[in-house]
């Protein structure tokens, strides 16, 4: 595999908590198939879990828009992007706060993701589409 050869997997699912364990397990199973180590896979499963929990908690509370997870694997890293539509302005405010405040209880999950990953970026556009992008480098590189 060349460093820039990516495998892309996307999962779009109802914004409901009960789906998250199934989604994180799917990602974990796929990473193991793609020869990522069990430890790296476990941490990635954790990251996916926290990102999706975050999306469900802070995302849309007025309609049933889906949560979308994009997982890109390269030989040297994995990148996760969680997209979520239409969070209420109040929730977006809370999310911004959670991202800004390192020790905020609400953002504890995101803070942990930051500790486990190399790069975490969050964008919220004018339509309240939230995107959290995480890059995690393979160990030993």
């Amino acid at each position: 595999m060349k460093a820039e050869t990516a495998y892309r997997m996307t999962v779009s699912f109802p914004g409901e908590l009960d789906y998250i364990p199934l989604v994180r397990k799917l990602v974990s199973d796929v990473l193991l198939v793609l020869h990522f180590s069990p430890k790296f896979t476990f941490r990635s499963e954790f990251i996916v879990d926290e990102l999706c929990n975050n999306a469900v908690t802070y995302g849309s509370s007025t309609d049933r828009s889906p949560v979308e997870l994009l997982c890109e694997t390269y030989s040297d890293r994995v990148e996760f992007t969680v997209k979520d539509q239409g969070g209420s302005s109040e929730n977006i405010k809370r999310l911004r706060q959670a991202i800004a405040e390192e020790s905020s209880g609400k953002g504890a999950g995101l803070e942990l993701v930051r500790l486990l990953a190399e790069k975490v970026t969050c964008t919220i556009d004018e339509n309240n589409l939230t995107q959290i992008h995480v890059v995690r480098t393979r160990e030993g590189l």
Binding site: S12, Y19, K25, L26, D29, V30, T62
Partner: protein
């Protein structure tokens, strides 16, 4: 928020006209009981059958307020609905457990899950899941296992879930086998889950070099599938035909889409819940 009811605010949910969202705030002590009552009497008209209470900003629920919420819940239950609670802090949740209130109220972790649960459990709305994954046989087991878990989660029994897993396995394996393996030419699997049935669409990107294989595959789709000892894929398709309620395929220059409908077992045999 109303001046006379500082601890409660009731709003509509645009996508769910029969549901109201109740935001409760701060300490729900004995003084807030009458305000809760007044606000409900004024806003939660009889067209609302169901209420979801956002408890994320609630710091305390005194027993008098709990009694009031129970009374309101009863009113909704009489209308054929319910009052459910969502987004409680861990501290509050623990207090509810200690008071035994968790046995009376349905408690959801967050608002969105509460709304989705309503849409599924009460309105029986369809849930959509879409997966796009690299065209590799090694990934199919993870995918079929995921779908099987989704089916179990949505109340399909073990047998149905297993059969759906088998269908997913076969149609995805076929999609990989007869499609392009180029880097970004993913397989797309769309799952529409209903109370009575599940619909699966597996779509691949065509590989011009596999025309003959695809024609053979399409013949198998049209005709009754004979099981040849040397033809592994034919067997797979025979299995899907046996397990599914409906099987269709659509071939274009771009790719092949296989559509499968599988009715829930109790629908087939007329067993009701």
């Amino acid at each position: 928020m109303n001046d006379d009811a500082p601890n409660i605010e009731i709003t509509d949910i645009p996508s769910m006209p029969e549901v109201c969202l109740v935001r409760l705030n701060g300490d729900l002590d004995i003084d807030s009981v009458s305000a809760i009552d007044r606000c409900f009497s004024r806003h939660a008209d009889s067209t609302k059958k169901h209420a979801i209470a956002d408890m994320s900003n609630v710091t305390l629920v005194a027993s008098a307020a709990l009694g009031k919420l129970l009374g309101i819940k009863r009113r909704f239950v009489e209308r054929g609905g319910d009052l459910v609670l969502a987004a409680m802090s861990l501290e509050l949740k623990m207090k509810f457990v200690l008071m035994g209130a968790n046995k009376i109220f349905k408690i959801h972790n967050d608002l969105r899950s509460a709304m989705n649960a309503y849409a599924w459990e009460v309105k029986h709305e369809t849930e959509h899941i879409r997966l796009s994954f690299p065209s590799q046989l090694a990934i199919v087991p993870a995918v079929r296992n995921f779908v099987s878990q989704v089916m179990l989660h949505k109340g399909y029994n073990d047998r149905d879930s297993f059969r759906i897993e088998t269908i997913v396995d076969e149609i995805c394996n076929n999609a990989v086998q007869y499609g392009s393996h180029e880097e970004h030419d993913n397989i797309t699997l769309r799952i529409k889950v209903d109370w009575e049935k599940v619909e699966l669409d597996a779509e691949n990107i065509s590989d011009p070099g596999k025309g003959d294989m695809l024609r053979m595959y399409m013949n198998n789709m049209k005709n009754d599938v004979r099981i040849h000892e040397d033809e592994k894929r034919g067997r797979g398709l025979a299995l899907v035909k046996m397990l599914a309620s409906e099987l269709k395929a659509d071939v274009t220059d771009k790719g092949t889409m296989v559509h499968v409908t599988k009715l829930k077992e109790e629908q087939v045999y007329g067993i009701s819940d």
